[in-house]
């Protein structure tokens, strides 16, 4: 059909445009020039021969992976005339809400700044620079006085904003019916129901093998595990990004996970990447930012206190401090409903020529932010690779967990999905919890905002994040949250207060993620 063709042409044009500026393009060009030396390249059939060469040498695969990566990350253009804000967020009321939330955060940051009389940024004196360089690998041993710093916001503050979100064009009347949504989120977004989720997550079904279930000690490895590992090794040797993404829906073997994730995220450590990371490190050494103290505080409060992740404290600083100075992250704001906060050089408030993004990457960390990085330390040990993986995970997934948007993987949709699943399939439980003042979302919100990091055992968390990568969606977080409530429903029905409900759900470290998901999606009578 003509419309589809022109849509496709538009998509292709956009992707070509994006890739033209990338390193891969320069490499392909170089390779093409170099290939002219080869005997099989003939002038008469130059184009065909070069294409053939690319196919054999694996460069076509790399291009394929890059294109696939772009398709995954960038939303497809809805209409050629749509303004750029629509790419960020099509609904006006969501944009407005995000805007005012950002204003609040910035105000809070500025007031902390004025209160403590600390500049947002300052150049470090040479002595301090040297000291920091020496201590780069053990910044965790530093004990700066952070008592006056407070996190800019915590997940529960964000939840309050989401609870108050309303669509001004939507009026469902005062009458309560069985359709009335009993939860905290009161915006009419489309979320999947269980039949749709079953279709979406078909590879998690009862008839397919899963890592996290079929690799347990009781199951002989010949039934599933051995073959699955073999296929994983094949996928890695083919270096096929799309195949890896399909493969990982059934879980990744421990030994292959680091490489598989890198393949799916299309990360390969080139010398330029290492250089870029070193440059960021230099930025950190030379300038001190106020957000650095926020990062320190967050790491000390969360990751350092964690039984599993305390070991990786130093890596967290090395990643997060560099992250806040990385201006390439600004690129993701094209499809993020959030916008980077702007700050002005002292004395030049309001003058656009003196505006800078603050922090340079436009992301203000909140309480628990460092937990996005901590599980990755299990897989990657080289700072620049760890950094790249985290950055890609952030600009593909994590940013959606703390910005207000209508995207199906955005936190608002996840909350609504969670509440809808609970209300539809566990109505008695939902009603009971609501009656005792323990709205389920108040408990599960923090799990979803952190993508369950710090709540699940590490091996279970990695199995969960395998599926996030595999399905390129965060909806599984909402499904898991509902599955956890379903699992502990019996105990929850007996509690009589919010505190008691919190206690029942305080410890998730013994949970096995995949069986819970399977039972909830495929084995519960609906």
């Amino acid at each position: 059909m003509l419309q589809e063709e022109s849509d496709l042409a538009l998509i292709i044009a956009q992707i070509v445009q994006k890739l033209k500026g990338s390193n891969l393009y320069a490499q392909l060009e170089r390779q093409a020039w170099a290939s002219l030396q080869r005997p099989e390249i003939k002038l008469e059939s130059l184009k065909e021969d070069i294409k053939e060469f690319f196919k054999i040498s694996g460069w076509e695969k790399k291009l394929q992976n890059a294109v696939y990566s772009e398709l995954n990350v960038f939303p497809l253009p809805s209409h050629p005339a749509a303004p750029p804000e629509h790419l960020k967020e099509p609904l006006v009321y969501m944009r407005k809400a995000q805007g005012s939330w950002e204003k609040r955060i910035l105000k809070s940051l500025n007031s902390m700044c004025t209160e403590l009389s600390i500049p947002l940024a300052r150049k470090r004196p040479v002595g301090e620079q040297k000291e920091l360089l020496n201590k780069w690998n053990e910044m965790g041993t530093d004990e700066p006085d952070l008592s006056l710093f407070r996190p800019v916001y915590a997940p529960k503050d964000f939840l309050e904003v989401l609870i108050n979100l309303r669509n001004p064009n939507y009026e469902n009347g005062d009458s309560h019916s069985f359709r009335t949504h009993l939860g905290l989120i009161q915006v009419p977004l489309k979320v999947k129901d269980i039949p749709e989720l079953k279709e979406f997550f078909v590879e998690l079904g009862l008839t397919a093998g899963q890592l996290g279930i079929d690799d347990s000690t009781q199951v002989p490895p010949e039934l599933f595990e051995n073959e699955h590992v073999r296929i994983g090794q094949k996928v890695l040797s083919e270096q096929d990004s799309a195949a890896a993404q399909q493969y990982i829906r059934q879980g990744s073997p421990t030994a292959l996970r680091a490489e598989l994730w890198a393949l799916i995220l299309n990360i390969s450590s080139q010398p330029e990447d290492i250089l870029y990371y070193e440059q960021l490190k230099t930025n950190v050494i030379q300038h001190d930012l106020l957000v650095d103290s926020l990062i320190y505080k967050d790491v000390k409060l969360t990751a350092s206190n964690d039984d599993y992740y305390f070991v990786f404290e130093d890596y967290l600083y090395q990643v997060l401090l560099c992250f806040s100075r990385d201006t390439s992250v600004l690129g993701h704001f094209a499809y993020n409903s959030a916008s980077p906060p702007k700050s002005y050089i002292r004395g030049k408030l309001g003058l656009e020529e003196y505006a800078v993004f603050y922090p340079p990457n436009g992301v203000i960390p909140f309480h628990g932010f460092s937990m996005y990085v901590a599980p990755l330390c299990f897989l990657y040990h080289e700072p620049s690779k760890l950094y790249q993986i985290f950055r890609e995970m952030y600009v593909r997934f994590f940013f959606r967990l703390h910005s207000i948007s209508s995207h199906p993987s955005g936190i608002v949709s996840l909350c609504l999905l969670f509440e809808t699943l609970l209300q539809t399939y566990l109505p008695q439980l939902f009603y009971h919890l609501r009656e005792i003042g323990a709205q389920p979302l108040r408990i599960s919100f923090k799990w979803m905002v952190r993508a369950f990091s710090g709540y699940l055992a590490t091996d279970q968390l990695l199995l969960l994040w395998d599926r996030i990568l595999g399905y390129n969606s965060l909806e599984i977080l909402a499904v898991l949250a509902a599955a956890v409530f379903a699992f502990r429903a019996v105990n929850l029905m007996e509690v009589t207060s919010l505190a008691a409900a919190e206690a029942v759900l305080a410890d998730l470290s013994t949970l096995k993620v995949m069986p819970l998901l399977q039972i909830f999606l495929f084995a519960t009578v609906t």
Partner: protein, 407 residues
């Protein structure tokens, strides 16, 4: 049942049907202190069924100077009987010299390897007390003078024995930190040798980052929790990882084969160390012993034996730790089997796997041989899943069944 440790299990124990005894001499089972043992064992009469938690001369294994002697002797014997390759399997103990009697041998070795770091440890103390590092002979000259002029000499108390040991300068680091492993081995008898390996254990991390620049900083080099507790950086949340986590971490970094090799090298350490003292330890059917092995891994994934503890600490530093230690004790009591419920042919009881039964013990049929060499697969599962409750239920149910059918 008398006990000086006073550890209780949180679960109601059907097997603890013995009343607690408070009077001296009236006991069937004693979890005793080594000091009590020293004073009383030799003139205590024990009935056939009585059990006590130490071997009379356990120090052959647990005191560093004795252990070194026994190991060296065993190694020589192996070399005579089975050749250099077999003897090399005993090279898991860093070069050690007893002080002051082997001082001259030590100086010779020292001069051969200038610049390496040595560690001085008192033979009989624990919890990291009295340990220090040195690189120059001058450092220990000063120390020798200091100890000589101490008050101990005046009171005619003999000078404490020390060992000087080659310090492992390339330990495996996680997050820039040094760590060692604590593993539990239960020996039910030496003649014949019957030893069980517990699946759980933990890695103890040093709080500060590893560097060879600060050999004076005890906190960096000593991973003992007791020392770490006094470090200004100490976070009570604990600096331990359960072995399962450690095993998973290594597997994701080095692959399952390398991990299999490492763990089978550790099995080798346990068995050889026990074999080396087999003839020296007075075997007494009343005795059993739960050892705490301290293992250090270096950057080439080679495990080294630091020491063996006869009285591993049973105090808990965290909830996870508490669970591990109570389950460990419960399973120990199951194996000691005061109620005579077991058949004696079990290969697994709770979290313990039978590692050596007068010879290697093989795993159940269908075991995975990852080395691919068709080698013998041992029955050890260190750092693996420990579904002990389920296993115990199944075990005791089948034992009940066996009792009912007269055969």
């Amino acid at each position: 049942m008398g006990g000086s440790k006073g550890v209780r299990s949180p679960h109601p124990q059907p097997c603890l049907s013995f009343p607690l005894s408070h009077s001296e001499g009236e006991w069937d089972f004693y979890w005793c202190d080594v000091s009590w043992l020293r004073e009383n064992f030799d003139h205590t009469y024990m009935d056939e069924h009585v059990r006590i938690s130490h071997f009379r001369n356990h120090y052959e294994l647990t005191r560093k100077n004795y252990m070194v002697k026994n190991l060296k002797r065993f190694r020589k014997q192996l070399e005579r009987e089975a050749g250099k390759l077999e003897a090399a399997k005993c090279d898991f103990f860093p070069k050690t010299f007893e002080m002051p009697c082997e001082y001259h041998l030590f100086v010779e070795e020292f001069r051969k390897n200038p610049g390496i770091t040595w560690i001085m440890k008192p033979v009989a103390r624990s919890q990291g007390k009295g340990i220090f590092l040195f690189r120059r002979l001058k450092d220990i000259m000063d120390w020798k003078k200091d100890t000589r002029s101490s008050d101990d000499q005046k009171d005619d108390i003999p000078v404490e024995n020390y060992v000087a040991q080659h310090y492992i300068e390339n330990p495996y680091l996680i997050g820039g930190r040094k760590f060692d492993l604590r593993v539990y081995v239960l020996v039910m008898s030496y003649m014949p040798l019957r030893a069980w390996l517990y699946r759980d254990g933990f890695a103890r991390f040093s709080n500060t980052r590893f560097t060879l620049n600060s050999i004076d900083d005890q906190y960096v080099h000593l991973t003992n929790v007791a020392v770490q507790k006094t470090s200004p950086d100490y976070h009570p949340k604990g600096c331990k990882w359960m072995l399962q986590r450690f095993r998973q971490y290594l597997a994701s970094k080095h692959g399952p084969k390398a991990v299999e090799t490492l763990f089978s090298d550790m099995d080798n350490i346990f068995i050889r160390s026990l074999q080396s003292v087999q003839k020296a330890i007075i075997s007494d059917k009343h005795c059993f012993e739960l050892y705490g092995y301290d293992i250090l891994i270096d950057q080439d994934l080679k495990p080294w034996l630091l020491e063996v503890n006869a009285s591993p600490s049973l105090t808990a530093s965290s909830q996870e730790d508490y669970e591990l230690k109570t389950c460990l004790l419960e399973d120990t009591l199951h194996i000691v089997d005061m109620e005579a419920r077991l058949t004696g042919r079990e290969k697994r009881v709770g979290g313990f796997d039978l590692m050596w039964n007068d010879g290697p013990v093989s795993r159940e049929d269908g075991a995975h041989d990852l080395s691919g060499l068709g080698n013998f697969v041992t029955n050890t599962h260190l750092g693996c899943v420990n579904d002990r409750k389920k296993q115990l239920r199944q075990l005791f149910r089948s034992l009940q069944g066996q009792k009912k059918t007269p055969n």
